[in-house]
């Protein structure tokens, strides 16, 4: 191909990078929030609530914003969803609450901006020095949580609120999980993930232990010994591979790793290719593509093997990519990588159709200095292999209360079945916390009865 391999840091001046990674959708002003809140019909048995995995009482909090009761608005949100601030920023509201807003029945795409209003209310809370919830008297019960992502954090907060002592273990140095390491930086700008965790932890009774790797530095068996209950919010630690022999060449990266590096480093020190090809059709693909562009990549192509309607990224996400200078191509499946001296030079795709599959004879090649793979994340059961917890279809099996097949062990979030959404993880963590609380309280009552 003759083109030189070109991956570099600092393609843009720092001031430009700062702008590119600033808040993608700044919060509403007081006036905007008041106008938007007044649009809400205050529906009875509102469809938006049903569409929210955490069942936030949306009409109630919007009414509270309209009446300038921001303490009430934020508490209404946070009592259902303690990560309501980050959910307000990262939720695909267009397929959740806002999709069901009755305003869309009057005019398509004119839902009340529920996410923006939620952010307005929770931002108010974040600027207070108080915590809206009080920790109950200590129960003396200890719960271990593995994974400091949204599921683990939500579980921890609810347990701490009920008076239990919680320790969260995570392989990373900082808590937050995908909020800290996996979401596009401009969605949670100004260090919001960390600020939200500080707020969440301020209830007390929660300890964080970083650098703890399940199956290596800690084991489930030990945790079960030392704690009264365990919650697993260990997410999806594996990524799918393209399956090419030469996939290990320089310039071919997992999008997840690319984003994690970006979120953990100074922007001017994140290497990015001049020409980047992202493979995949989900939010990770979009986040990787747009962030690569905003780091200064010249040409970004997102290639998805099927059509727009099949993408797991929403249409809003897809348009976000397209309006950010990402070329999106459909119906193309990676065929082989072009390499030179152990570095990627391009990637060849077979064209496909809904009816006929992919035709290796009908192909095209995209030159690339960097190929980011975002073709799916998978649950890796190795850390709990020995523990004989039931895993089906690649996810930990849990009942409606988050109970795994192993007594005293609960799980939730992406490592269990269901939508892989932050907001769903929060619900799982919260609900498992309630189930753990009920179990721990029942056992303490039994013990008290036996002692008496």
């Amino acid at each position: 191909m003759g083109t030189r391999f070109d991956i570099a840091c600092g393609r843009l001046p720092e001031a430009v990078l700062d702008l590119n990674f600033a808040d993608a959708h700044p919060g509403l002003s007081n006036e905007q929030a008041a106008l938007e809140a007044d649009r809400c019909f205050y529906c009875y048995d509102a469809p938006c609530v049903e569409a929210c995995p955490t069942d936030i009482d949306i009409p109630r909090f919007i009414k509270a914003i309209a009446s300038d009761n921001l303490a009430g608005a934020s508490k209404t949100i946070l009592q259902s969803n303690i990560l309501g601030g980050s959910c307000a920023r990262v939720c695909p509201t267009e397929i959740l609450c806002e999709q069901k807003c009755v305003h869309t029945a009057i005019e398509a795409n004119h839902a009340v901006r529920i996410g923006a209003l939620q952010r307005f209310a929770t931002d108010w809370q974040m600027n207070q020095t108080t915590h809206p919830f009080q920790r109950a008297q200590s129960t003396g019960r200890r719960v271990a949580i593995v994974g400091a992502g949204p599921a683990g954090l939500a579980c921890a907060h609810r347990l701490a609120m009920h008076g239990h002592d919680v320790t969260i273990f995570d392989r990373h140095e900082a808590p937050g999980g995908l909020n800290q390491y996996g979401v596009a930086a401009y969605k949670l700008a100004d260090n919001f993930a960390q600020k939200e965790i500080d707020f969440l932890m301020s209830i007390g009774g929660i300890q964080f232990q970083g650098g703890a790797v399940l199956g290596q530095t800690i084991t489930l068996a030990d945790l079960r010994q030392s704690y009264h209950a365990v919650f697993l919010g260990i997410g999806l630690s594996g990524v799918r591979a393209l399956g090419f022999e030469n996939e290990g060449v320089e310039g071919v990266l997992d999008a997840v790793a690319f984003i994690e590096a970006l979120r953990s480093s100074t922007l001017s020190e994140v290497p990015v290719g001049r020409r980047v090809v992202v493979i995949g059709g989900g939010n990770t693909a979009v986040d990787a593509a747009v962030q690569a562009k905003r780091l200064g990549a010249e040409e970004i192509t997102l290639v998805y093997r099927r059509g727009p309607e099949h993408m797991s990224a929403t249409s809003v996400e897809r348009e976000w990519a397209q309006t950010n200078g990402v070329t999106v191509r459909f119906w193309a499946s990676p065929h082989h990588l072009l390499t030179d001296q152990d570095a990627v030079q391009g990637i060849c795709f077979s064209r496909g159709t809904p009816e006929g599959g992919y035709d290796p004879q009908d192909s095209f090649t995209l030159e690339a200095d960097m190929v980011l793979k975002a073709i799916g994340q998978v649950f890796v059961p190795d850390p709990i292999q020995k523990d004989q917890i039931l895993v089906e279809n690649g996810r930990i099996v849990v009942d409606a209360h988050g109970r795994t097949s192993m007594p005293g062990v609960y799980a939730g979030g992406d490592c269990t079945a269901g939508e892989d959404l932050t907001v769903a993880a929060v619900r799982d963590g919260r609900d498992a916390a309630e189930a753990i609380h009920a179990e721990l309280m029942a056992s303490s009552v039994e013990k008290d009865a036996n002692n008496g």
């Binding site: 106008l35 007044d38 205050y42 529906c43 009875y44 048995d45 029945a105 009057i106």
Partner: protein, 422 residues
């Protein structure tokens, strides 16, 4: 094109839209702009004796509701605070320059015949078309035994009206205060005193709100507040009722009524006309949006009249009055039932919860696959209209009149222990 030319108590104007006596008509500058914008007339802000009154800062308080500003406005301003001679000179100039417009001068002097005798010739000399007696101002001036203090005592209303009629050739319009138990008492007194017309309503005594930081009624003046006079869209229903009462009262028959009270658009205007008004006075709407609002009032009223086949204002004035009856005369056999247009329904549930919690449990709820489904339980529906009013979608819920079998009013109703038996 409907003919909007107005002759009211002998006063001519090219359309029925007059600016009410208020801040917008305090000066030549404003009135000139108003006439240039198309207003048919003005009632000049109330003149009093010299030395002029002194006004306060601030002067207004406003009521908003769910994002709409100024659905009600309250003021604690007094009458014109400019010297009489200044106002008189300006009135004279404006009237000369706009001879086709109605210029009416609002007046308020103490309740002594000599005072009225003194001011009337001065006003008459301006060439003004008429006077309006301000018997309505409910704040400040009433504490000095003027304004509403006069308007609330029918004997005074009659007496002062008579003084004016005896001392001027100008038509006399008596502006009535709504701060009375029965509007007919001062209205009849005005007629007895020889009034050529009445105008109503003046503002309603009100405390518009409380500043919860200052812990004082609004508007807060140096840490304290006072009651003011309330006007704007929210007072329209009160005005319509009082106008209708006068219009249907046999002793008031034929007296011209200038309608005032929250008129904001052509539809309000048409409603005031229908309830008996022969001219219309506007203030809050102009204070909210400026004089240009008259354009749509003129245009909209004219278009509506064309659509209905009404050629002149007289065709509209009083047209609803004979249908404005005491409750006793309503047909108890009439019934409407709510009907929900399921295609228009957005599933907000407001009709259901309003009916369920506060009415007759006549709207059922079912959660369908795509949306909630609400249906009227016809046997339970009393036709109260509440669901139609709370529904956010225009024409989604309609009240369907049912076949009526004859007429039965309360005086004849079997359940009435005092019923009239044949």
């Amino acid at each position: 094109m409907a003919d909007l030319r107005t002759v009211f108590a002998g006063i001519k104007s090219p359309n029925p839209f007059w600016l009410a006596s208020a801040p917008p008509t305090d000066k030549e500058y404003n009135v000139r702009r108003a006439f240039q914008a198309g207003w048919g007339g003005v009632v000049w802000k109330t003149l009093g004796e010299d030395p002029p009154v002194v006004n306060l800062s601030s002067r207004y308080g406003a009521l908003g509701f769910e994002g709409r500003r100024l659905i009600g406005l309250n003021n604690i301003e007094l009458i014109s605070d400019r010297p009489l001679a200044t106002n008189i000179a300006e009135i004279k100039r404006v009237k000369r320059e706009f001879p086709d417009r109605a210029v009416i001068v609002s007046l308020m002097v103490p309740c002594e015949e000599d005072k009225w005798k003194a001011i009337l010739p001065i006003v008459e000399e301006t060439g003004a078309d008429g006077i309006e007696l301000n018997f309505g101002c409910p704040h400040g001036m009433s504490e000095r035994n003027m304004g509403a203090a006069v308007g609330q005592v029918p004997e005074y209303v009659e007496m002062v009206t008579r003084w004016c009629k005896q001392n001027t050739r100008m038509p006399v319009i008596v502006k009535l205060t709504p701060n009375v138990t029965n509007i007919l008492m001062p209205a009849r007194a005005a007629r007895a005193g020889g009034a050529d017309a009445v105008s109503l309503i003046n503002t309603i005594q009100s405390v518009i709100g409380v500043d919860l930081d200052a812990m004082a009624p609004m508007p807060v003046v140096g840490g304290k507040g006072t009651h003011g006079g309330y006007c704007g869209p929210a007072v329209k229903p009160i005005a319509l009722r009082m106008i209708g009462e006068i219009a249907r009262d046999p002793t008031m028959a034929g007296i011209p009524i200038s309608g005032i009270g929250g008129i904001s658009n052509w539809r309000d205007s048409a409603e005031f006309l229908a309830m008996g008004a022969g001219s219309l006075q506007v203030c809050t709407a102009a204070m909210h949006y400026g004089f240009r609002i008259v354009e749509d009032m003129i245009d909209g009223l004219s278009n509506w009249m064309d659509g209905k086949g009404y050629e002149r204002l007289d065709d509209v004035t009083g047209r609803a009055v004979s249908q404005f009856v005491p409750w006793n005369q309503l047909n108890m056999k009439f019934r409407t039932i709510a009907d929900i247009d399921q295609d228009a329904c957005v599933g907000c549930g407001l009709c259901h919860i309003a009916c369920e919690d506060t009415s007759h449990q006549a709207i059922s709820k079912r959660n369908g696959p795509d949306r909630r489904h609400y249906e009227v339980i016809e046997d339970e529906c009393v036709g109260c209209n509440l669901c139609a009013h709370v529904c956010p979608v225009d024409d989604c819920i309609t009240m369907v009149p049912q076949p009526v079998d004859g007429e039965l009013t309360w005086p004849e109703h079997p359940s009435n222990p005092h019923r009239i038996t044949a």
